[in-house]
Symmetry: C2
Subunit: 391 residues, 2 copies
């Protein structure tokens, strides 16, 4: 997207780029300054040491220490060389759902990849979870991500080991765009083993970060990164999470932002289900596949297919016919009188029902007795019958 | 309990015993007749062929066919020989929570075992699920049942293969009474392989049925049996259930009766989680252990223990101290000025925090530089940190 199409004047864009270098992601004080004074004025105040309100002397000194090394023109050249760009609020490509973060809205986003962030994030779901996950978690994350991509949904995650990587890979395998939100610069391959994955994501989707090129992750940056994942998407799905998992932090952000919060149930005997069980016991919606996710986050009309098993003919019988069918012994042909007694009806009524059941293929006549037809829907063990769906 | 203590006159008790032989469990028409006319009057009307209202000719004929073979005195002798008894509404031992079934309330209950049904059912939970369950389901059912028994709760189930048997066995292993509600006579070992289990249940708990001795199960009787399990207990827990499982029928009864409905989550990749996932997506409360079950069905004050992991010291740090800790590089001792820049604070403030962190054992001084103390709660990989619990 060319510079002319963007909203803010170059001076403000440059200031935002500089501010992403000196303020930690999610810094609401800086966010409020920018909202009130504009980015250029804030940046100049820092450079010229005109201390702004609500900044302690230490805070201000820290910003000045960082500002001394900031070089926003160079950062913009670096991101351009990477084939990327720096997005600002007001840009056509800016995803306005981030405005829900209020003063903690990112000052700007450093982006690698050809897609439009606004477009791909429009119908997007966050899929996050444990790094040290099990094969079960990997499988579910990969399957869900693939099926979401096939339905035209973008999977957003954090490019971490485990569930995050499985989610990105599942989406990529289905040929869908996927978005990795990093807690470091978009040129920093973190974790290092995901260099190839991050390259693939940037090629088919987007890699983005609030932090300018070269910045490294810290604990606090991971926590703040999670708010961007939650805010970008219509809902967050947690797949496998220990009791104290970082993905529960993403879940809290999603909840606070009023986005849909979902969790994939897992065996309660697994420590990696403790976090998801907790979410489920709070307010998360249990989901088992992409259809159920889309049912929740999708537009009206985009409902999950009904996955009911085919109706078993036995279930279609009138209650009285069912009773008569139950009354037929498994082992031997039986007279109508005994069937009537077992079914608690008259012999006449039992005969009528037996003829009906014979037409439907459930029973057959043997002389003046009646017997079950082999393989006709009533099993040998009554207790092997499923309960009637409507019962 | 001696006959004198019971409420109904012997004539009514005998009539109820006879009616359990001729009416199918849950028959609301017969239930209404008994409520309006009294059991003896209803029984005499059938014997003397005085057709009662709301009975079709066929229905009436069926009742008469069965009545011709009924022998309630003999049934009462049989149950006494089994060391059992026949309970009627109004008896001291009658569990009044069954009255919630209205006209479908059992006409009476045939019981084997020494405990008082009313007493053991007072604090009881139904644990039901798939017959063809997995090791996971067996394990969870057995564990939950054992822990419930240890907390003084009675486990009620249906003595079927799979989850039912695991629930009974878990309760027995913990030395607790458990109640098996059968869809046949209490002298009929169904399934046959559970003869030994049923004997053990009758010894330490109770085996009961609406049907008189000698009756065999039918599909309809299983369905009606489930309503008794649901009505006897404060809540129903479903452990592993396929999409069309009989235990979902018990769940529906529990829901209709306003009892607590719970489900144990399982891997969504398993067909035996389809039923529980469905319940969870409706209104069932997810539970993973006995504490969570008791938290729901128990009296106020009987809450689950807080199972939070021990607080990690890192979480107790003030945010500014956390930022400074994050700012210390893993690999090398660092000067306070650089720490300040990384943490975005003044050098003075950074130094103060570093001294604080040193006292707390997180960092140590090396000449005029600072470094992380090995194994002091901050891991090498920032992303390996759990998110702060409050974040």
């Amino acid at each position: 997207m060319s510079r002319e199409e963007e909203g803010e004047p170059p001076r403000d864009r440059l200031a935002r780029a500089a501010l992403t270098r000196i303020a930690e992601p999610g810094d609401e004080t800086v966010g409020r300054w920018v909202a009130e004074l504009g980015p250029a004025e804030v940046w100049e105040a820092v450079c010229e040491d005109r201390r702004l309100p609500a900044a302690s002397a230490d805070r201000w000194a820290g910003l000045r220490l960082r500002a001394a090394r900031a070089a926003p023109e160079r950062d913009l050249r670096v991101i351009a060389r990477l084939g990327g760009r720096f997005l600002c609020p007001g840009d056509r490509e800016w995803p306005t759902q981030l405005d829900a973060l209020g003063a903690a809205r990112p000052l700007g986003l450093w982006v690698r990849g050809a897609c439009s962030l606004r477009f791909v994030a429009l119908r997007s779901v966050a899929l996050v979870g444990a790094r040290a996950c099990t094969d079960y978690g990997t499988h579910v994350a990969c399957e869900c991500a693939g099926a979401l991509a096939e339905r035209g949904w973008t999977v957003v995650s954090g490019a971490a080991y485990g569930i995050d990587a499985a989610a990105h890979r599942g989406a990529l395998a289905a040929g869908g765009p996927t978005v990795a939100v990093l807690a470091c610069g978009v040129d920093v391959d973190y974790p290092a083993a995901h260099q190839e994955l991050l390259r693939a994501i940037a090629e088919c989707g987007l890699v983005l970060a609030e932090l300018p090129p070269g910045e490294h992750p810290t604990r606090g940056r991971f926590v703040q990164r999670n708010r961007v994942i939650a805010a970008l998407t219509r809902g967050t799905v947690v797949v496998e999470a220990a009791r104290r998992s970082g993905s529960l932090n993403t879940a809290r952000h999603a909840r606070r932002l009023g986005r849909h919060l979902m969790a994939v149930p897992g065996p309660v005997t697994s420590g990696l289900s403790a976090g998801t069980l907790r979410l489920l016991r709070e307010d998360a919606v249990p989901v088992g596949d992409a259809a159920q996710i889309v049912e929740l986050v999708g537009d009206i009309g985009e409902l999950a297919e009904e996955k009911e098993a085919a109706v078993v003919p036995r279930d279609l019988l009138a209650p009285q016919a069912g009773l008569v069918l139950d009354a037929l012994p498994v082992s031997r042909p039986t007279e109508a009188a005994e069937v009537a007694r077992r079914a608690c009806t008259s012999e006449r009524a039992a005969l009528a029902r037996l003829r009906e059941l014979s037409t439907l293929g459930f029973v057959e006549r043997v002389g003046d007795r009646w017997q079950l037809r082999r393989g006709a829907g009533r099993h040998a063990e009554p207790c092997a019958h499923p309960a009637p769906a409507g019962g």
